[in-house]
Structure formats: C-alpha cells, structure tokens
C-alpha cells in the first residue's frame, strides 16, 4: 500500500473515532466500544474499497454496505459524514428527537442501505442485495459487518448457508472479532469459536486478518474479489474501544457514553493522534 494512501486512511479512521466520541457524548448514550473497533474497516471500505456515490446515492450500480452490527452506527455516521452523505454538524444530533441519525441505522438516512440494529438480520438483507445483483447482472459488491457476539444469532448461520448455497461470490461478510459482548468475553457467554472454521464449513472462502491493519485489509479485500462461486468471510481480530486508551478492551464500554471528563480525555488523545498523522 502506498504510504500516502495508508496515511490518508489512518487520518480518516481517526476522524471516524472522533465522530464516535462526539456523537455518543452529545447523545449521553450509545455504543462507543464496538464503534471504535469497527472504525478502521469502515474507513477502509468507504475510502479504499467501495464504489459509492454521495451525489447519486441510490445509483443502482453502487456497492452496498449493511451494518449488521447496527449498534456501531456512530462509526458508520462518522464515515458517512466524511464521505459527504450527511453533514459533520449532524453528528451532534445523534439519538436526539427528530434527528436523521437514529440510534441504529435507518434506511432513510442518506448513504444507509438497510435499517439494522436487531442482531443477525443485516447479513440476510445483504444476501438479498447480492442475489439481486446476480439476477440483474450488475457487478456491484455487497459488504456486511457483523459483531462476534452477533454470530451467536441463529439467523446468521441460516444466511451463511443461503449465501453459499446460492454461490453469492459478490458478498463479503466481515466479522469484527473484538472478543467482548455485553455480558463478558464471547467465550464466557456462548463461544462462537472457531469462527473461521465455522464459516469454512458453511462454504465460505475465509481470510483472517488484523482488523486494525490497512495493508492486511487491502490484501484480504483484493483476494475476496478474485473468489468465484462462493462468498468470502473476513474475520478481523480487533480491540474493542480501539484508539481511546481507557476504553480499549474494556467490556463496560459496549453501551455507555463518556462523561464530560472522559470526553475531554478521549477527544484529546484522538486529536493528538490526528495531529501526529498530519505532521
């Protein structure tokens, strides 16, 4: 990966993280932990992988993205603001009455391809979009991001069976494996491991990567494009709360907003990081 591209992606991801903190702080609630673990892949998808057109957002040829782990909406809104689908000012309206930015993604929000939030359902919708692409002989691709806790939902495996049975090679399922869910670690709660072998058994091409490494992402998504006759699953090892020191790998930051002091610390850390990247 070219250094300029890498540095640009790092900056974008940092700005997405700033949006996550800004949004959840102003809302006084929301899900920063799983938003921060997904910030890097969202920045990658929207700035180095997907064909999306903010000026023609409903273009039939656009690539689709379904945030199956809908609670990471603050990160999605961050990247949609950077892309120009929504304004930066709207981030502060997250979760407020009358806002475009619902607590979980809503199809009415510019740039959002599917309403999600109830875990396990987004991957099915992504399968439907991929199937429509095949039917209409369009070359768009469909990406969906799932949580590792989310894959405890049975519907995920119904969808996995379907994707592979219908040979949806235009579908990429990404699992944000930050290892934490509300009640504890995923092993403690109801272990979905080994995640890679499960998707393999369901007929997927499986790629394991570090979900905070853009070069590994580049290789994985490039490989996914070459896979024919079956869907691809990219299992990303991530850190929940990534980028904000006191939130990293702490279960309690799943569904809690920072208070004023924590907000200042978090924003400070991220701005410092951004300044370093821009230097």
């Amino acid at each position: 990966m070219e250094k300029t591209v890498l540095s640009e992606l790092e900056k974008m991801a940092c700005q997405v993280r700033l949006s996550v903190i800004e949004g959840t702080f102003n809302a006084g609630c929301g899900h920063p932990g799983g938003s921060l673990s997904a910030a890097d892949v969202l920045a990658y998808l929207y700035f180095n992988e997907m064909r999306v057109f903010p000026s023609n957002e409903k273009s039939e040829n656009r690539d689709r993205f379904v945030l199956s782990k809908g609670h990471a909406a603050p990160a999605l809104y961050g990247v949609l603001a950077l892309k120009g689908f929504i304004s930066q000012e709207e981030i502060k309206t997250l979760r407020k009455v009358g806002s475009t930015l619902q607590g979980h993604p809503n199809i009415k929000t510019p740039g959002v391809d599917m309403s999600t939030g109830s875990l396990g359902q987004g991957i099915s919708a992504a399968c439907g979009m991929a199937l429509a692409g095949k039917l209409d002989k369009r070359d768009y691709r469909v990406y969906t991001l799932l949580g590792d806790g989310e894959i405890e939902e049975g519907e995920v495996w119904e969808a996995a069976m379907f994707a592979s049975s219908k040979k949806l090679d235009n579908l990429v399922v990404i699992v944000d494996n930050n290892n934490l869910q509300i009640d504890g670690t995923v092993e403690e709660v109801n272990s979905p491991y080994p995640i890679d072998e499960k998707f393999q058994a369901f007929g997927f091409e499986v790629i394991n990567i570090d979900g905070h490494d853009f070069e590994q992402m580049e290789q994985a998504f490039a490989k996914a494009r070459t896979v024919k006759g079956k869907p691809t699953a990219i299992i990303m090892k991530t850190i929940k709360g990534k980028g904000v020191s006191f939130m990293e790998d702490v279960c309690g930051w799943h569904g809690k907003a920072p208070d004023a002091e924590q907000y200042i610390t978090a924003i400070g850390e991220l701005r410092l990081r951004l300044a370093e990247l821009e230097a």
């Binding site: 039939e60 689709r64 379904v66 809503n106 199809i107 391809d113 599917m114 309403s115 939030g117 109830s118 396990g120 359902q121 987004g122 991957i123 099915s124 919708a125 992504a126 399968c127 439907g128 979009m129 991929a130 199937l131 429509a132 692409g133 039917l135 209409d136 049975g154 519907e155 119904e158 969808a159 069976m161 379907f162 049975s165 219908k166």
Partner: protein, 315 residues
C-alpha cells in the same frame, strides 16, 4: 329440488393463479421456505424458474433476504405456513421489512384451525393480531379463491409490506370473476336491518349461511365481507352500526387481536354499539378433520346465528 352447485377451492389456489400472472413481471421474485408445494408458490417456479428462490427451512433468513432484494427494486412474495411466517419470523418482518417499509408481500397459507389434522402446532390463530400491530403493514384475509387472487395482484401494486392470509381448506366460492378487490374496502354482501355480521376469510360463507338461518327466525341480517383487516374500513363499520344497532364479527382467528378487536376499536371510539365476537376463544386447536374442528370451535353458521341473537338482545 336441484342442489345448488358450489365450487370449492382453497384460497391458496388463488395465490397460485395470481403468481402465474405475476410471473410476467420481471421485477417480481418469489421465495418459499420449503413449503412451495403446499403454499402453491411453486406455481411461480414453473413460469419463472430464474426468479424463484427456496430459502430452505429457514424463515427468518428468508424474510431478511426478501428485504434485501426489495431494497434493490424487487417486489418479493414470500411464503410459508402462517405459523412460521408470522410467528417464527415475526421480528424479521417487523424490523427488516416493515420498519424500512419495503415491498415484501407475505403470503402465508395454512392459517387458522382449518389446517386440520396437523393440530395446534400448525394452526395459527394469532397471525392477524401479530401483523396488524406492525406499522406500515397491510393485512388482508380473503374470503375465497377469487378474492385471494385479486388481493395478491393488488398487493403487488401496493407500495410497502402486505400480509395476505391464505388457507389450506377448499371452501365455497363467494365471488364471481367480475369481483374487483380494493385494499381497505369492505363490501355489503347482503342487506339486513336487525344485525350486521362482519366476517372475514372462510367465515364469510358461514355468515351468508347464518343469514338464512336467521331469516327463518324472522331476523334480518346484514352481511359484510371485511377482507382488509388493516386498514379497516371504518366508515362501513360505523355505517353498519348505525343501520342495525348491533354487530357480530366472525373470523377463523383468536378473538384477541383480529377482526373482532379491530371492529371493537372502531366502535368503542367512534360509535359505541353492542358487539359480539365469534372466533377461537383464546384456546389452542387440536387435530381433526377441518370441518369438524370448525364446528367444534364455534366457527360455523349456527354459532354465528346464535351470537347474532345475543347481540340483538344487547341493543
């Protein structure tokens, strides 16, 4: 005397007839969850095999896939038994289909206790209630094969999700081919002054028979077909209440949450009128031949007539 010849057909046959026509529309997709032979959705596969998808025994995913297809401009018909479509996949219908207001038409067969021998596990008597409470959802319960076909074709043109309730049992045909169905409009099938029987689904024919029973007792009953339970035809309900002063509802569904409840909501808020609800009385069904079950659970002309007299006494 020559016996009147009645054509008996299941409403799912009307679905099949409609699907045959819809196969001509390139944006229509049909999905089933391994019950295509029973729901009759396989008819579509015969005419447009490339646009029929079997999701296998996985209703939740089927609803989500249908939603995804609909976001890409498709009109998707999904079928299963009413129990599994509206019960098993309730939340997928709510969150993935109705909340984003997508063009998915849930055409579920084997509704009600007229499923018969399969028993209570398969006899869905809660589907209207479940579907009716979801925002954006239209709920239609056709009375016969003709209305079923018309309702499915109309559903294809409606923007947004629709639930069409279909049955397994061959039932008498009420309408002739010239019948025109409109979403949200009930019809007066027979005029009367003493009581209005508002019926839906297979209870419409029973209500027409109840009219004859009541006529022998000197009671004149107005018969209304209410295929669309949501949005309910409020003005027809109120007009009937004003005209006859009491109402009986009749449905092959729990008395909780279905047609009876919808009519009660309109009456209590807009024109309080004595009402008696005929339906499955908050109990599960059981195995047995369909017509025997319908009698046992009070879903018969005789029981409607009995309750009409009770409603009149409440005036």
């Amino acid at each position: 005397m020559e016996e009147k010849k009645v054509v008996k057909k299941a409403t799912r046959e009307g679905y099949a007839e409609a699907l045959k026509e819809l196969a001509q529309s390139p944006d229509v997709i049909v999905m089933d969850a391994d019950l295509g032979a029973a729901t009759k959705s396989l008819t579509f596969k015969k005419f447009a095999p490339e646009r029929f998808f079997d999701a296998g025994i996985a209703e939740a995913n089927m609803m989500g896939v249908a939603a995804g297809l609909a976001t890409c401009g498709k009109t998707v018909f999904v079928s299963s038994f009413a129990m599994f479509a509206t019960g098993r996949a309730y939340e997928q219908i709510r969150n993935s289909i109705a909340y984003p207001n997508l063009n998915v038409k849930i055409c579920a067969s084997h509704a009600g206790i007229s499923v018969g021998e399969d028993g209570a596990s398969h006899q869905c008597i809660e589907d209207i209630s479940l579907m009716r409470s979801i925002p954006n959802m239209v709920v239609i319960n056709p009375a016969d094969v003709v209305e079923a076909k018309a309702a499915v074709l109309e559903a294809a043109h409606h923007e947004g999700p629709v639930y069409v309730r279909l049955g397994r049992l061959a039932i008498p045909t009420v309408f002739n081919e010239s019948y025109r169905f409109r979403i949200g409009k009930g019809q007066v099938l027979a005029e009367g002054d003493d009581v209005t029987i508002i019926a839906t689904g297979l209870m419409v024919d029973e209500a027409l028979q109840a009219k004859d029973i009541l006529a022998k007792q000197g009671i004149s009953a107005r018969i209304v077909n209410m295929a669309t339970i949501k949005p309910i035809d409020k003005s027809l309900v109120i007009e009937s209440a004003k005209k006859t002063g009491c109402i009986v509802t009749a449905e092959e569904h729990s008395v909780i949450g279905g047609l009876g409840s919808a009519v009660a909501e309109v009456l209590s808020e807009e024109y309080p009128t004595p009402l008696v609800r005929v339906g499955v009385d908050d109990t599960f069904g059981e195995s047995g031949p369909a017509w025997e079950l319908l009698k046992k659970y009070g879903l018969s002309a005789e029981n409607i007539a009995k309750n009409a007299a009770i409603a009149i006494a409440k005036k």
